[in-house]
């Protein structure tokens, strides 16, 4: 009996392996034009000036860095073939030989140095310079060898170099084109630039001289369609092959329809309701904990996100190096009685209108949020506002345009208790977030510690982890940091994004990436 079961299991296992090993039956086809619709036009196509998704989606296919992050968030070689750690502040890279930029300029160590000098020593420095830790620049060793130098030991160096915005640019093109470079960048990637009509479209085409596997489609057109509904109609009518930011409410129907494929993967952005820990009443940890207990995060996930997002398990998303599950479900289950009890401990008692009061003051929180910056950000804010009301906390929400929210949250003084925000760990290394978001010296306007959180222990740990080059040690240190933050929560983490792209079923070979910016199109092909 047992042997039959085990034989059956082995059989299943073999079958399972066979299924995964069989190559896809579809033969790749070359040619055709891939049309992509997305909500916004790039600010620029130069990574020095544009680090947000609308530009990155396009330039990521034209510019390549020394390293890249694959879909499993592993660092992979791109324009570098190998590396060697020379000292705690120096990493030596061997460059891929025989690579040419789209304008024919050879790619070499001088080009790497040129790219980093331009970004880090330019005035102003590149938009991404503040996100690159202590990266200092590049030194030419010989034509195909380059040293990347940091000011102090910098643990996340490889992941930082693998970020989407670290693409190498052609020195001759930059010198020749000047400011125009940002509208027609020249890199080494599988696609090259053709045309950009502002607020209409950007066109890129296959680079026939690419050093690796050449792109399969002839051209890619990125069209601007701001309205969500209009983007979905474009997909239905065949005007678009692929939709970025599809409508969550329409996904269930799309998943069932054989004419379409919904590509999705767990993303690495955490969207949260931030708490200003530096000002009463949220400087009291019990009040913050009460707010976490008051929020039914599952209901939000099920009914507002409707399957288009995953649960937030902490301040980092799973998939980020150094991530640790904060066990929020265990620490802060949705429990109104506990929320009220904690508020009671902090001295807040129900007032005449149901809102908690203490010493004649009402528990009223002012809250800044935008609508549409992150999926359903306005809606989750309104939902939490109603949940707060149930435990006697009044939230006065101000929905403003994103730029206004950004300015206040990143400003030197924040006169609001709460804010709705999202955060992507772009290089998939905990340093990028835990340092910038929770180190006491990173309070705006310097950095991104928008909660104005300060804990000397956390400061010491993130500094130590940044300087260490021992990845096991770093992972352990980040675990400790997250344990401390979990007890003193200055966020209400709401969800982890899912990256979702809807496409026609005839679009094949596309692999969606957990980092929104990394839209790889070179392996994508069209069946008809």
């Amino acid at each position: 009996m047992r042997s039959r079961v085990s034989r059956m299991l082995i059989g299943l296992l073999v079958l399972g392996l066979a299924v995964t090993l069989v190559p896809p039956v579809d033969a790749q086809k070359r040619g055709g034009t891939l049309t992509i619709v997305r909500p916004t036009d790039p600010v620029s196509l130069d990574p020095n000036l544009e680090t947000t998704a609308p530009g990155a989606w396009v330039y990521f296919n034209m510019l390549e860095g020394l390293l890249t992050l694959d879909e499993k968030m592993q660092v992979k070689p791109a324009l570098a073939t190998s590396y060697e750690v020379m000292s705690p502040t120096k990493v030596r890279f061997k460059l891929r030989p025989g690579v040419k930029f789209h304008d024919g300029t050879p790619f070499n160590a001088a080009a790497v140095k040129f790219t980093f000098d331009r970004a880090l020593k330019g005035s102003p420095p590149a938009r991404w310079a503040s996100l690159a830790g202590s990266l200092e620049g590049a030194e030419v060793v010989d034509d195909l060898t380059v040293d990347i130098v940091t000011r102090e030991p910098y643990g996340p160096i490889l992941r930082t170099l693998a970020m989407y915005c670290m693409g190498m640019v052609s020195p001759t093109a930059v010198q020749k084109m000047g400011a125009d470079f940002s509208r027609a960048p020249v890199g080494t990637g599988p696609f090259k630039f053709v045309e950009w009509k502002t607020n209409t479209h950007v066109i890129i085409e296959r680079n026939p001289d690419y050093w690796g596997d050449k792109a399969l489609v002839d051209r890619v057109i990125f069209k601007v369609v701001p309205e969500e509904g209009a983007r979905m109609i474009a997909l239905q009518t065949g005007d678009a092959d692929m939709v970025l930011f599809p409508s969550p409410a329409q996904l269930p129907a799309l998943r069932k329809d054989p004419k379409f494929t919904v590509h999705e993967t767990t993303g690495i952005r955490v969207v949260f309701a931030g708490l200003h820990a530096g000002q009463p009443p949220l400087d009291d940890v019990r009040v913050r904990q009460a707010l976490l207990h008051a929020v039914d995060r599952k209901a939000i996930l099920d009914n507002i996100m409707e399957g288009s997002a995953g649960p937030a398990r902490g301040v980092l998303a799973p998939g980020v190096f150094g991530y640790k599950d904060m066990q929020l479900e265990r620490l802060y289950p949705f429990d109104r009685a506990r929320a009220k009890a904690l508020l009671g401990q902090a001295g807040w008692m129900p007032g005449p209108d149901g809102v908690m009061t203490k010493g004649g003051q009402r528990l009223s929180l002012s809250w800044l949020a935008a609508r549409g910056r992150y999926p359903k950000d306005g809606e989750i804010t309104e939902a939490i506002q109603a949940m707060f009301k149930e435990v006697g906390v009044e939230a006065k929400v101000q929905i403003l345009e994103w730029a206004a929210v950004f300015q206040q949250v990143r400003g030197a003084t924040l006169n609001h208790h709460m804010f709705t925000l999202g955060w992507v760990t772009s290089n998939a290394d905990a340093d990028y977030s835990l340092y910038a978001l929770f180190h006491s010296k990173q309070v705006p306007p310097t950095g991104w510690n928008t909660s104005r959180y300060a804990n000397p222990k956390v400061d010491a740990l993130v500094e130590q982890a940044r300087r260490s080059l021992n990845q096991t040690e770093r992972e352990k240190l980040y675990g400790e940091v997250q344990d401390i933050i979990a007890k003193e929560m200055v966020w209400i983490p709401v969800y982890t994004t899912k990256e979702i792209i809807a496409a026609r079923a005839a679009v094949k070979g596309f692999n969606i990436h957990p980092v929104e910016y990394n839209l790889t199109l070179s392996k994508t092909w069209l069946e008809k």
């Binding site: 409508s247 409410a249 609508r371 939902a383 506002q385 949940m387």
Partner: protein, 277 residues
């Protein structure tokens, strides 16, 4: 035949009046009429179709749309009435001063108002909201200020015309001081026209409030505003059309009602139409 009798004979105006009364009623009695608290959420019942529990369905947070439409009438009417008052009082003052003072003061004031009139209406309101901030009160002020120039021009025009009439000239010749001229002879002739304009303005005010809220610059959540409801409902138009349609209909009905009443009043109060049908 007096004005009310003439108004009564206009069936459409009566329908409009009935609708306005209904709106006022629901706004006043909202806490008693609404089946639910308009901000009460029940996420699990999101986008519930119209049925026994929610007569007009539920929105994306599982809030009762009927209750929100009833409470939305409050916002619409409060903004409408207060902004009309701002527009009428402000316009009356400016118009009378410009019309009476004449000369350079008139010219300066009118050119200033014409500059305001040259702005597309939404742009002007947006600029005012941008300066004052969002919220119900600021929306009301923005809508009111937007109405001032038009009222001022109407009043000034009437004052200029009335100043030249024989009976005003006679009163002046008999030594009546300007305040008395205004009170006794000019204002009584302007007020009927202003009432008509004010009623028609209500319709525009409701529409502008809805537009500002639709753009996220007017009334802030969770306060129920029709424009805000349409705005959030448009994302789910294909899957749950009732979320945007019901408040959209409310806006339409309210605007139509005030227009019908305004038209009826104009016909009833216009001296030239006296005696006609």
């Amino acid at each position: 035949m007096n004005a009310w009798a003439r108004f009564r004979r206009n069936r459409l105006a009566l329908v409009g009046l009935a609708l306005v009364v209904l709106l006022a009623f629901s706004a006043l009695l909202a806490p008693w009429l609404a089946p639910y608290d308009p901000t009460r959420q029940s996420l699990i019942e999101k986008r519930a179709r119209p049925g026994a529990k929610y007569l007009l369905g539920a929105d994306e947070f599982g809030r009762d749309i009927l209750s929100r439409v009833i409470y939305g009438a409050r916002v619409a009417l409060v903004v409408g009435v207060l902004s009309s008052a701002i527009a009428l009082v402000g316009g009356l003052l400016l118009g009378v001063v410009a019309g009476f003072a004449g000369a350079w003061l008139d010219a300066v004031m009118m050119r200033g108002l014409e500059i305001l009139l040259a702005f597309p209406y939404l742009l002007l309101a947006l600029a005012i909201v941008a300066a004052l901030g969002t919220g119900t009160l600021n929306t009301t002020i923005a809508v009111g200020i937007w109405g001032v120039p038009a009222v001022a021009r109407i009043v000034r025009g009437s004052v200029l015309a009335l100043r030249e009439t024989e009976y005003v000239g006679a009163a002046r010749a008999l030594g009546a001081p300007p305040p008395a001229l205004l009170r006794r002879h000019i204002l009584p002739n302007i007020v009927p026209g202003l009432i008509v304009y004010g009623t028609l303005f209500m319709a525009n005010a409701i529409l502008l409030e809805a537009a500002l809220s639709f753009l996220g610059l007017g009334v802030q959540p969770p306060t129920a505003s029709w424009g805000l409801m349409v705005s959030t409902g448009r994302d789910v138009l294909l899957v749950a059309p009732h979320v945007a349609t019901v408040p959209g209909l409310a806006i339409m009905v309210a605007v139509l009602a005030f227009n019908l009443v305004g038209d009826g009043l104009r016909d009833a109060l216009d001296p030239r139409l006296r005696g006609s049908v």
